[in-house]
């Protein structure tokens, strides 16, 4: 008895007192208050894509636990991205996906389409508010527009607190409708990439090219569902579990990606536009821990994702924030990601084999591991504003998965590693 009385009860009481005080003061007026976050991100892959992104988000406090969240993202991509075609010992010529113009790839180089550039603008808005004691709801929408892509979506969620707000169960639903309108139209599955040099004149080339395109645009509909459980373990430990289900129906092929058809000596006979299934169901489970450890702050999470394309992935992410002075903190990050290949991933097609139903040589759905090694440095400025700098190295290591490289392919790099550097500056005010 005496032992129990002298136990440390302050942690449990602190949680209980916060639960009592969690509700808003009941008298007087509350002034509207806006909080802004801004960030600039630069992403640069060695010899490939460069991207710049500007983010501005705002959260308006309308009192009574009602908030309006607004977001604006503008990003610009430029540079070269892998087409999926294999490297060869000789020079290769490619027609741009629009059908207009061509480019050559040097011997031994992984074919990259160097005209890759796009600008994207994304707007999103959501409103959240309490519905009844211990219930919160939110609803919102987004619009994202690129030159050849439009995504429109709506989402909603509901959360219920239990156990003196120590347990929160949430459910979210989202729907988005995407339209892709690639320049030159959408290539039919496994349409051949035609070369202008194989035709007598522009008109005959254009007529043949048009025959490989069967529609100007295509669409994709996606429904996402999320079930979440957040649990306060103690004053210093918060745990979260999520299960999410994503069902997509529509055009999921990348209109800019090719698959090379090679002969028994590994020499490219023809490049075909890739073809992917038009349905995909993804599941993922996510486990996150946020811990206070003696003045430091640890955020460790793990995600397992699997889908009916037979792609499975594991993601482990650890961030650890340490104070380094009164004002500054440093937050190292290590993230490791590993995925198995989608069932229709093939680095190339063999001429002697019959054409499969689907095939893609996009390394992003092949067997791969990646890691991110980074650090963030942040400081609290006067008046409660926060400034932070983040720098990270992102390494993608595609791996061979079964397919042997015949003939000349044995001497080229089919699984080229990609290294990227990210730098970010964020300011909250």
């Amino acid at each position: 008895m005496q032992l129990k009385q002298l136990a440390n009860i302050s942690a449990a009481l602190a949680a209980a007192s916060c639960a009592v005080l969690g509700q808003d003061a009941q008298a007087g007026t509350v002034l509207d208050d806006w909080q802004f976050n801004s960030a600039i991100l630069l992403y640069n892959e060695t010899d490939r894509v460069s991207a710049g992104e500007a983010i501005l988000s705002a959260r308006g406090d309308f009192g009574d636990d009602k908030y309006l969240n607004l977001g604006l993202v503008v990003d610009a991509l430029t540079g070269a991205s892998a087409t999926g075609a294999v490297a060869q010992p000789g020079v290769q010529s490619f027609t741009r996906p629009s059908g207009k113009g061509s480019y050559d790839v040097a011997p031994g180089d992984t074919p990259l389409d160097d005209t890759f550039h796009d600008t994207r603008v994304q707007l999103d808005a959501s409103w959240e508010q309490p519905l009844a004691p211990n219930w919160r709801v939110s609803g919102g929408g987004h619009l994202s527009k690129e030159y050849d892509y439009l995504s429109l979506g709506v989402n909603g969620s509901v959360a219920r607190d239990f156990n003196q707000k120590n347990t929160t169960v949430s459910m979210g639903l989202a729907y988005s409708h995407d339209t892709i309108s690639p320049e030159g139209g959408v290539a039919s599955g496994f349409a051949p990439m035609l070369l202008r040099s194989n035709f007598a004149d522009d008109d005959s080339y254009q007529a043949a090219f048009d025959a490989t395109r069967d529609r100007a645009d295509d669409t994709k509909d996606t429904v996402d569902m999320l079930l979440g459980l957040t649990q306060v373990i103690n004053r210093d430990w918060l745990m979260q579990f999520n299960y999410s289900l994503s069902m997509a129906d529509g055009y999921m092929t990348d209109p800019f990606k090719l698959v090379s058809v090679v002969n028994s000596n590994g020499e490219v006979q023809q490049n075909l536009y890739e073809s992917r299934p038009d349905k995909r169901t993804k599941h993922s489970v996510y486990w996150q821990n946020k811990l206070h450890l003696g003045g430091t702050y640890l955020d460790a999470s793990y995600r397992y994702m699997w889908d009916d394309w037979e792609l499975k992935s594991h993601t482990a992410d650890v961030k650890w924030r340490f104070p380094v002075s009164e004002q500054w903190y440093v937050e190292p990050q290590l993230r490791y990601y590993q995925q198995s290949a989608a069932e229709f991933y093939l680095p190339f097609l063999q001429q002697s084999d019959s054409l499969p139903q689907y095939a893609s040589a996009d390394y992003r759905i092949g067997k791969m591991s990646t890691y991110t090694l980074g650090a963030k440095f942040g400081t609290k400025l006067a008046a409660g504003n926060e400034l932070s700098f983040r720098i990270a190295l992102y390494q993608q290591n595609p791996e061979q998965d079964g397919a042997d490289a015949p003939g000349v392919l044995a001497n080229v790099d089919l699984y080229e590693k990609v290294t990227a550097v990210m730098a970010q500056v964020s300011y909250s005010f």
Partner: protein, 299 residues
Amino acid sequence: MTDVAVSRGKNCTLGQFSAMASPCEILLETADMTLCRELTLLAAAEAERIEQKYSRYRTDSVLSQLNQGAGQWQQLDDETAQLLTFANTCYQLSDGLFDISSGILRRAWQFDGSDRLASQAQLAALLPHIGWHQVQLKPKQILLPAGMELDLGGIAKEYAVDKVLQLLRAQFTPSSLPSIVVNFGGDMHCSRPRHDGSLWHIGIENPGLVDHAISAVGLTTGALATSGDSRRFLLKDGVRYSHILNPKTGWPVTDAPRSVTVAAPNCLLAGMLATTALLQGASAEAFLQAQGLKYWLVA
């Protein structure tokens, strides 16, 4: 409307009013008297709201209505339900020592500095009506057995301090928030450190010298609450009986420190820990050490 007085202090402005049987102060680090007056008026209104709702002296208070409805299931509003849930947690964690149903012991004890102790017969008649474990609490309902009474005297003032600060805080954007101290008779909560980095020096009443605040505590942020028997006690045969009563025996706790002050993130927590420490009697300091929070103790 409560009367408020606003004056200029040294490097601060001060708003004063009286509520919950205590002198109440709002200390503001800016020199803006108008702002100080507005905040003090808001504070006084909120303190009055809580006092009206939870006073046992007002028959129309929510608390008195609950006590009058003992013997049947009663609906609870959100705020009251949360306070009672907190009281329940306090009861569980203090192993039954912090009990909001023990107020009826007042009928047997008057702590007027005299030597009139309660009789065991008086206590025996009251004890069956004490014990939070007899109360049935559902999320929005309570069943208080007939003959029992609840008293939020041990929580309401600290709760009011926290709620008033929460209300004053909400008048500012996070970046424009000044340092504000809400001090209700020694139970206090500070919004943030002063911009010039200096401490708020606020006196804690020393039980040995009533009304002479000799222990000034430097406060930067967070809350302080004090529990003690400086004014209310009985003295018989050289034994000092504090007004802190053990709800299990009905008797005052003996060998407890005269006063305990605890620093904690909020006043509700600080006050609850200070009171629970006193209830430990001679083990008060050991209990405080186990909490891992700053404390001051007058033996």
